[in-house]
Amino acid sequence: MMESYEVAIIGGGSAGLAALKQLSNLGKQAILIEAGKQVGTKNISGGILYSKKPRNGRVHNVEDVYPEFLQDAPIERKITQYMLHSTSRNKVFTLNLTAAHEYQANFGYSVLLNRLTAWFAKQAGESAEKQGGGIVSGVHVKSLSWPGEKTVIETDELDPFEAKAVIAADGVNSEVAAMTGARTKFTPEQLYQGVKVIVKLPEEIIEERFGVGTDEGAAHLFAGDVTLNHIGGGFAYTNRDTLSVGAVYHYDSLMTRPTEPSTLVNALLKNPMVAEFVKDEVAVKMEINKDLPKEEQLRVRFATSKLIKTWNELRDAWYSPSGRKRLVEAGKFKTEAEIKSRIDYVQNELTSKYSTRFVTDYVELEYGAKLVPDGKRCAMKKPFHKNVLFIGDAAGRGVFIGPRIEGLNVGIDDAVRAANAVARAIDRNNFGPQYMGEYYSQMIEDSPYTRDMREIDKDYLKIFLDAAKDVPKDIIGQRYGMLFRLMSSGTLRGLAVGFANILGYDKLLPLVESEDTYVQVPVELAEKMGRSMTAMYEPTLPTVAQRVARLKYDDDRASHIKVLNPNSEFMKKMVVLCPTNCYSIEGGEVILQHEACIECGTCAKETEWHHPRGEKGIVYQYG
């Protein structure tokens, strides 16, 4: 006898978990299936999580789903500064877009998804348990079928089971979408490729450097020459004691002129402004003298490593009010000043006895990448198939309009809408597409986010134009003169936006999202109006191999990806575009070594692409 459940949610990211929480809040039994060994280990985002209050309509925010969110969740910093920098060589021109960031927003917090998703899972899991449901992790769904009205779900790990409703929250590379045929795989035109590094930086150094208070943070966006002529840009967000530094580019722009993702993030790190953002004091070990006796070499190696570890730990604590307090309260130090003298002592030991050097550089903790669905171009028009509802990235939904970058909040809003539609279906015991799917589809139509994916919001545009009001018209004028004049006038803007919306995003986007906008104009702005910046050092950039070596994997000997045509042009580009260099060319054919795969899906379009089996593959520590 097959086990049967009311609802199965596939995918334990922020959207899937919000659906589980909402269904449990409504008193419905739901189970969530997640492939990662622990929930959160497969999740990565840019990442700012917004809570919004649109003027028209309402959205379901994270704090509506999790009432303890603001008090209890492991969020990083509340973003209070939002800057857009145009770059060219050592010149930077800055626009303050904080007003755009705060537009119709309750808040925007920087987040690291590993720990935040784990928190969501704890909350949602506990609620679900009370309704006889819960989270099943380490399980990979491999097929769905409909022998009757219910969906039979088969996995790599468990006996098949059935569910009356399914919520697909399995991300941008949704296998459920592929299995059901609800949508085709996204094309490069519909996607961005994002690549990110987590940089270690002590808490109070962040606050001083970015001019933000405790718990406050800054977001910096970059366009211009750091893009290496690609459409998109870079970002640097402050977390509590790390920075998220990354680059997001239109995938089709990368296909036109393939550039290694790591090179793109390096271009950003090399920019003098970013280099100064990420810099820190770093201990560099001395090469051990190989002429010393083996035992002595070992002793020196262990002693140096141990002292550097101590130095790092103490220093991190020293630059954090809670860290200092913790050390004193634990009785390890009598006063805070003692911590400082201990750090100095350790540093002195390292310098004098072990020839350790202390240099200015930066420390990278984690490298990651993901595809981002551009909602404007790929949001599913009919986000359901039979009794399966698609939410978040799986449904291709996200709001990405210039500097407005929102994905997590859209997924959470979708999740609540899907959960409500499913709860309604449970009450009537009617899971048919007319009663549940169409209803959900209508709720998605009503979402203010959907509207934002389709129409230009003239109020948002005004904020943007106001911020750019000091920009000389001749720079912009050459290309967008007419448009700019229209937009700058209150009455004409309404008309212009109206006209633009009649034309539709489809026709406008190629004009707006162009190299001109993301590269040429910013470069010109920086050259003409930018201030000069100099970095006091040159960051030591790790190779891809070094970045991969730092990642944690649970290796699966069997590959989850199968190359279909090793001679295709697309696959040849993957040799460059795979963020972890999994592809190479041998004898004219593209070959895959899947071990370093971080499951971004960049190669998914022309491969047989699955997520790895349960518990296998990448294990992000920050995300």
């Binding site: 086990e3 348990e129 989270i135 099943v136 790990e157 468990l158």
Partner: protein, 292 residues
């Protein structure tokens, strides 16, 4: 009341893992310097008990004989098995016990466990004794059917029958998996290769639930702990400790190390020449073997 009552016999053993173990100059174990933990085979037995908790909602009791600090082993076993009851049999009178005298204490302890015990689990053997006798002897004293080397089991709750798979390894032969069945009660010595698998959604959900419960319980393990001395246990002093032990270890000898006949050459570095040198060596050594 649960429909299935499980007991697990565990043992506090020296932690032989790297960095934790310490030896005297003569090569014997330095017990004072070596941390003690739940024995690895006891851990496997605890996992096996947890399987019954998840599948059948079994009630689990973990028992051990040892010094007062052996309660640490019980705590660790509780974390693995979500035990409802922990027993420590501790008395100076038990000192010097061999396997038979230990089995006497453990057998008597089973009678003190709440409910009528259906299955007793033990490890394959102890990592510091290696005889593997305590389990079978306890089973014999209890009068329970003994199933050794068990790698998988399942209980038919209706007919009260255990079906188990036993891994039979004989030198020079293929390994054989033998399937046996026996009516409850039984004593199962679990094979080290045992690994529980939870194949349905409901089992996974129960697994999560009990695992969480286990964490909470293990944090407050003293609430579940009952300590018995010889008198409280009601054992016959002639059958426990030294008086109850027919075997005495009178000498331990080191097994002489076989002389290594290998010659090693260390090539350091990662330059092309150095790597080529290693590759050449490998080809030389592999000689006749064909590598393609």
């Amino acid at each position: 009341m649960s429909d299935l009552n499980i007991a697990v016999n565990v043992k506090l053993e020296p932690d032989f893992s790297e960095g934790n173990v310490s030896y005297n100059a003569d090569g014997t174990l330095n017990r004072a310097e070596t941390k003690s933990i739940l024995g690895p085979h006891s851990a496997v037995a605890s996992n096996a008990a947890f399987y019954s908790k998840v599948l059948y909602g079994a009630r689990v009791a973990v028992t051990t004989m040892g010094p007062p600090i052996a309660d640490i082993a019980l705590q660790q076993a509780q974390l693995l098995s979500d035990a409802d009851e922990l027993h420590l049999y501790s008395d100076r009178m038990f000192a010097g016990a061999d396997t038979l005298a230990t089995a006497e204490v453990l057998k008597t302890g089973i009678s003190k466990v709440d409910g009528k015990t259906d299955i007793v689990f033990s490890g394959h053997r102890a990592s510091d004794g290696e005889t593997g006798q305590t389990g079978p002897q306890t089973a014999w004293k209890l009068g329970f059917t003994f199933l050794g080397n068990v790698i998988d089991y399942y209980v038919d709750m209706q007919s009260r029958i255990v079906r188990a798979k036993r891994l039979i390894s004989l030198q020079g032969f293929y390994d054989v998996v033998e399937e046996v069945e026996a009516p409850l009660p039984v004593f199962i010595a679990i094979d080290p290769s045992y690994k529980a698998s939870f194949n349905t959604v409901s089992q996974r959900l129960a697994f999560e639930k009990y695992q969480k419960e286990a964490k909470g319980r293990a944090q407050n393990y003293k609430q579940y702990l009952k300590v018995f001395n010889a008198q409280q246990l009601g054992v016959d002093p002639k059958l426990v400790g030294l008086p109850g032990s027919p075997t005495i270890v009178y000498k331990v000898e080191k097994i002489p190390k076989a002389k290594a006949s290998r010659k090693a050459e260390v090539v350091e570095g990662s330059s092309r020449e150095q790597l080529a040198k290693v590759a050449t060596k490998i080809f030389e050594v592999l000689g006749g073997l064909v590598i393609k």
